[in-house]
């Protein structure tokens, strides 16, 4: 199992969470897990879409109403 990294994007609107996610993922190695904490629904559209397009595994937990944790497993 790789390491787990939390990325806090609470209160941040598009495109900030996506840019932060891209940068954070660059620093990780294959098998690592990035957990992006967001509360803007727009980021729920572009962050998972982008990560899947890049070939990573994505799963999301709704931690509260309008608050999510996006789990991205770096796959390549």
């Amino acid at each position: 199992m790789g390491k787990e990294v939390m990325l806090d994007c609470l209160g941040e609107a598009c495109p900030v969470p996506l840019i932060k996610t891209e940068n954070a993922l660059k620093k990780l190695t294959i098998g690592d897990l990035l957990i992006v904490h967001i509360d803007h629904s727009c980021a729920m559209k572009n962050v998972p879409e982008w990560a899947r397009k890049e070939g990573h595994n994505v799963e999301i937990e709704e931690v509260d109403d309008g608050e999510w944790e996006i789990f991205i497993e770096k796959a390549k």
Binding site: A13, C14, P15, L18, I19, E22, S41, C42, M44, K45, N46, P48, E49, W50, R52, K53, N57, V58, E59, I60, E61, E62, W68, E73
Partner: protein, 408 residues
């Protein structure tokens, strides 16, 4: 890593208006229901800033706001939600399986409500700038980031023009690339008149996207005039594509029947070609794709799934049971000939109580069980022994035949 297996009555794939409505119906019918959505619950409707034609909301609603209410209602009926994408499905047989990255789910019925995804132009360079690099499909998501900027909208349908107008609240200039001749658009007349009068909107007629250019980010879209072949470079900060949708049916290819465009074929009960698999919403081959029609589809699919599961249970536990011989009377309540035999069947039911299991199946209510038994003609009598069909009597139904069948 071994995947965890979880069992459900119904799995709904897709959390847009159709999937959520199916969820509300299944949940309310007390079926153990799981809805799998790949990202944000609400589907494509959440990409729309304003929905004015969904009945019950005379003041209009945002797409996201309306879908949040659908979501809340489905949760109220105990629908479970899983936010991830489906990797593979196995839809044949009585137990259907749906696999995600971490889990394997089993269900008696599956409702496909996977909807559509935005279509791309296919122009050169497009792939390199998707989502984060300048090409977007969601005005409500990315409008604020374009405050004071110049954006290009490709398309002239309702989505393109309405979202384009929404973008003018933020951007300095919204250039619209329209496929048609000057003044012709695919959108409704109200939107068209408003757009033409909007001082921030500019139109490039007879044009399509030809090539996308940029460094890290998109900075120029080259349009091509279809009549003159003239290339028109347009400097932009972002480009929004609203040129229709493609169905999300890749994982069902070769399994579920679909039309040339990849949309799923269903009957009016939302049944697909596989028993226990239903489809609803934008993913279906249908005439009008709207939240209002998705809701109707979803209600039917949810109801059909409920009936299918009830029928399966009756079929396996009561009709195809192994503990004693069974007689199934397949009839139609509105057929006089069928009604004639009813007293006879009921007489035998009483006489053989405890020794033979007699079941009456009324095809007027549903033809599902009859078709599982391979019976299309009524009245018919099916004899079941050791959980298998032993004999089907279609002609000469009379006391002697019935007695002989039971005595055998």
């Amino acid at each position: 890593m071994e995947k965890k297996v979880e069992k459900y009555d119904v799995i709904i794939i897709g959390g847009g208006a159709a999937g959520l409505t199916a969820g509300i119906y299944c949940g309310r019918a007390r079926l153990k229901t799981l809805l799998i959505e790949k990202s944000l619950v609400g589907g494509l409707a959440t990409y729309t800033n304003e929905i004015e034609n969904y009945p019950g909301f005379p003041e209009g609603s945002t797409g996201l706001g309306l879908m949040e209410l659908f979501h809340k209602q489905a949760k109220k009926f105990n629908v479970d939600f899983k936010l991830t994408d489906v990797k593979s499905v196995n839809l044949e047989g009585d137990v259907k399986t749906v696999e995600t990255f971490r889990n394997k789910f089993e269900a008696k019925a599956v409702i496909v409500a996977t909807g559509g995804k935005p279509r791309l132009t296919g122009a050169k360079g497009e792939e390199a700038f998707l989502y984060d690099k300048g090409i977007s499909f969601c005005a409500t998501c990315d409008a604020a980031a374009n405050t004071g900027k110049t954006v290009l909208v490709v398309g002239s349908g309702d989505a393109a023009i309405e979202e384009g107008m929404f973008l003018t609240k933020f951007a300095d200039k919204v250039i619209v690339s329209v496929l048609h001749d000057t003044g012709k658009m695919d959108c409704n007349e109200i939107a068209k008149a408003e757009a033409l009068a909007n001082p921030k909107m500019e139109f490039i007629w007879n044009s399509v996207a030809h090539e996308f250019f940029g460094e890290e980010r998109l900075h120029t879209v080259v349009l091509k005039n279809l009549k003159t072949d003239q290339l028109i470079p347009v400097k932009v900060d972002s480009c929004f594509l609203f040129i229709g949708y493609l169905p999300n049916t890749d994982i069902f290819k070769g399994v579920l029947d679909m039309n040339k465009g990849g949309y799923l074929l269903t009957n009016e009960k939302m049944e697909t070609n596989i028993e226990g698999i239903f489809a609803c919403g934008d993913v279906r081959d249908k005439f009008l794709k709207q939240v209002a029609t998705a809701v109707g589809d979803g209600a039917i699919a949810g109801y059909s799934a409920e009936k299918y599961i009830a029928e399966s249970e009756l079929f396996h536990n009561q009709i195809m049971q192994c503990d004693k011989p069974g007689i199934v009377y397949v009839w139609n309540a509105i057929d006089p000939k069928c009604r004639e035999f009813l007293p006879l069947i009921e007489k035998y039911e009483a006489a053989y109580d405890g020794k033979v299991r007699i079941t009456k199946v009324d095809i007027y209510k549903s033809a599902g069980i009859a078709s599982r038994l391979g019976v299309s003609q009524v009245p018919s009598i099916v004899k079941i022994k050791d959980g298998k069909i032993e004999k089907i009597i279609r002609e000469n139904i009379c006391e002697e035949e019935l007695a002989a069948a039971i005595e055998e």
